[in-house]
């Protein structure tokens, strides 16, 4: 022992070792200006980085795609690696609605209400053929894709998709979240999109 750094000092060194000298991967910093003791970037980018790496998922699982999502959440595929550690079973505290499975027309108003209850910013992933297009259920009782009732950001193909495909969908959504401007939700285009679905924003 060369010098006495104390107990707190050792803990601190240990933490630094774990962060920088191990194979734990940290989120990449957005482009910006770096100097001694400071790092400057735009607020959009900083917020986008934070949002993309803490997407709280709301699983809306109605059939086999939901089973694949359970594997995706489990330790083997571990959705938590991407910051989606906390599946939210309340729409109020969720950012990312994952619709997995066949949505019957009778379920449509329920799904729509769940979407409306989510706070902005909110994103939607349609997982699997049924949520994306109705899948094999080309019939009178099944919604032919959830984009008939709510806007969708990412579509994951497959019947059902493998957990890798669902993870890929989440990563694609992270790209969207990282790169969207902070005031996108106040743009006329976005309001018009929601208006098209009959969802009225109070702003």
């Amino acid at each position: 022992m060369s010098c006495n750094i104390g107990r707190n000092g050792r803990l601190y060194l240990n933490l630094i070792n774990r962060l920088f000298m191990s194979d734990i991967k940290l989120a990449e910093a957005p482009p910006g200006v770096e100097g001694a003791g400071f790092f400057a970037t735009s607020l959009d980018k900083a917020i986008g980085l934070a949002r993309a790496n803490s997407l709280w998922p709301l699983p809306f699982a109605t059939s086999c795609c939901g089973i694949e999502f359970m594997a995706t959440m489990g330790s083997t595929y571990d959705l938590a690696r991407f910051g989606a550690e906390r599946p939210s079973f309340s729409p109020r505290q969720a950012d990312m609605l994952l619709v997995m499975g066949t949505i019957a027309k009778k379920m449509a108003p329920v799904l729509r209400q769940v979407y409306v209850q989510m706070a902005e910013p909110r994103w939607v992933i349609a997982v699997g053929a049924c949520a994306s297009s109705g899948g094999i259920f080309d019939t009178y009782s099944v919604l032919q894709g959830i984009d008939e009732i709510i806007p969708v950001d990412v579509y994951v193909p497959g019947c059902p998709p493998r957990p890798e495909a669902i993870l890929d969908g989440v990563l694609r959504l992270q790209d969207i979240v990282k790169n969207e401007s902070l005031n996108r939700r106040n743009t006329p285009e976005y309001k018009a999109l929601l208006e098209k679905y009959g969802i009225h924003t109070n702003k």
């Binding site: 027309k105 009778k106 297009s133 080309d138 009178y140 009782s141 032919q144």
Partner: protein
Amino acid sequence: MENGFLLEKLQGNFPAKIVEVPDAHDLLTILVNVDDIIDVLCFLKTDRELQFIHLTDITAVHYPHLEKEFAVVYHIHSLIHNIRIRVKVFLYGPNPEIPTATVVWKGANWMERETFDFFGVNFIGHPDLRRILNVDDMDVFPMRKEYPLEDPNRVDKKDLYFGR
């Protein structure tokens, strides 16, 4: 209890009103006129010897090529003797009507609502005959053989894309 005995007993109680359907794969199947159906169901349930106390299901079949287009089908089970019977009633379309079986079994309530929902069979005297599975504002009876299997107006599911 044998099917033959059951049929004889029924025909003895309802002379010339019970017709057996042949080739029904061991499940005794009888045809009954719409006016006699409740009497027959009541007899099957309450007769001390038969005791068909369990109504398994009520459904319907659409035969678009027949003069009497609709058949309402009752599956009844005697839990005492572990024997089953199928009772069919043929009805004229397009607005078939039949008395409700809720007066015999309370459990017929939802089965008849389902049959109404999918085939449009009007169960006269039913306490609450409205749709049970489909969306409330649906204005068709989807299990009738009147519709194409796939929506011909769709543009995203053309045969071309599926190699058909």
